[in-house]
Amino acid sequence: MSETIPGLPGQIKSRPRRAGTLASLLAAAALLLPSTALAQAGRIDAADTSWILVATALVLFMTIPGLALFYGGLVHAKNVLSVLMQCLALTGAVTIVWLVFGYSLAFDPTGMVAGETGLHAFIGGLSRMFLADVEASTAWGSIPEILFFSFQMTFAIITPALIVGAFAERMKFSAMLVFSLVWLVLVYTPICHMTWGGDGSFFGDMGVLDFAGGIVVHITAGIAALVACIVVGPRTGYGTTPMFPHNLTMTITGTAMLWVGWFGFNGGSALTASGDAAMAITVTHISASAAALTWMGIEWFLHEKPSALGLATGAIAGLAAVTPASGFIGPMGGLAIGIASGWLCYIASTSVKRKFGYDDSLDVFGVHGVGGFVGTILAGVFCAQSFGGNMGYIDIPSQVGRQLGAAVITIVYTAVVTWAILKAVDAVIGLRIDADGENQGLDLTLHDETGYRL
């Protein structure tokens, strides 16, 4: 019977059950024959592996330096290093946690049976702690498992890195590290497992579509950001003092790096070097373009001038929104999602934000949270064949219902657990620096460094 490969929801490929006794025996037998000692059972495909190797580098590039620069330029000059440092430090820290047990919790298939909802529908086991039993030649579908580990790690890195935008310029570095790593384990790994764990995963069995992380990355990060910016509180002076980006050249540069890197994020989520990957990057790019122009158009209409930051933010909104849908839709779907997200994320980042008064400093909720949600819902529409998608004659209302259900569950779970982690960290080490430190800037206060010496 065909089985869904973990990490590739919604796409059915035939593949034998992994890591069985037979495979071990074959491996042992192969070792006895010198000429085939290094041969795998012919499952690792060189083309697929090449592409995912590149995609892994592209997605890491999105965090360092793409996101780092995007965020860095948006804060005050006195806080630029703190943002760059948070992204860089999270890259290292998440890597270690992922190695130790993050990957296992997210992707260990032990105990998972299609249609059964036990513990392992929600979280993996520990059989892959420290990448036990995974060698260079171990396969995961048609790529090495070590590559799947690394590719997914870059997603695990960028998700907490996205959240830092919500509490930029006022959160303690130590608190940020502790919060992010605990959040990774308590929120990211279960949601990732539920969505991408393959057969037996909770959302997977529900038939929820999330190609590259609308639920796993953008909704989780966006909701966590909203909760965090409310719990941590606004920046001192927010609402009365204008707080302009200190270096939009940096921000636009970061945007471009994110845009290009997203080809790896969505295209790589195909896990194959194929037409699917090609379609994914194309619809991604179309959505980014449409959303950027939509945001720009709204600003041009409302304020008589389009802004560089608006254009850039629009592009990110389109990229975030198309992420869950990118492997299931066609170009027209990309266009539609781009326009929808450009418009809705604009509203979320301007009038909604102003109305409710929360200081989501770098619009993580407005762009990633709302964008991810919009894309997750619209994936249920545009995956249908009648809209150019590749899911055949799917019943759209039912699929949208499934998408919405998964989104709501994710939103509630993320919000509650994020709040709890923040409260716990606050009680132990405190979340926020004091007013004097905030005034002087995090770079000097927390790191004894200055970003610019002009």
């Binding site: 204008p242 302009f244 802004s307 930051l309 980042s349 301007t350 619009d363």
Partner: protein, 112 residues
């Protein structure tokens, strides 16, 4: 000896510098400042909200001249810095207690 401080529009700096050099004035100090008088600020757009920024970038030019050169210097500055629009700037003239050349220790007008 008098000190002349002129706040001018930044793009007029070269013209003013040349006009003063044409009078034989050899030294000056220039700094980048912000300020406003009657000139209105500009608006900047951020996240869909327009903010009015009051301060305009300006250049402050300081020269020290002997009393007989004060009026020619003022005329030169006005001639070079004026555009006829609000925001052209102002000139402040103040008396100086003393002037010293650090290298030689000369004082007074010999140090200018």
């Amino acid at each position: 000896m008098k000190k002349i401080e002129a706040i001018i529009k930044p793009f007029k700096l070269d013209a003013v510098k040349e006009a003063l050099q044409g009078l034989g004035i050899q030294g000056m100090t220039v700094s980048e400042v912000k300020g406003f008088g009657r000139q209105r600020g500009h608006t900047e757009l951020y996240r869909g909200a327009e903010y009015v920024v009051d301060f305009q970038p300006k250049v402050k030019l300081e020269v020290v001249v002997s009393d007989d050169r004060v009026e020619p210097a003022i005329d030169a500055i006005i001639g070079a810095a004026s555009t006829g629009k609000i925001g052209d700037g102002k000139i402040f003239v103040s008396s100086l207690g003393d002037v010293v050349r650090i290298r030689t220790g000369e004082r007074g007008e010999a140090a200018i």
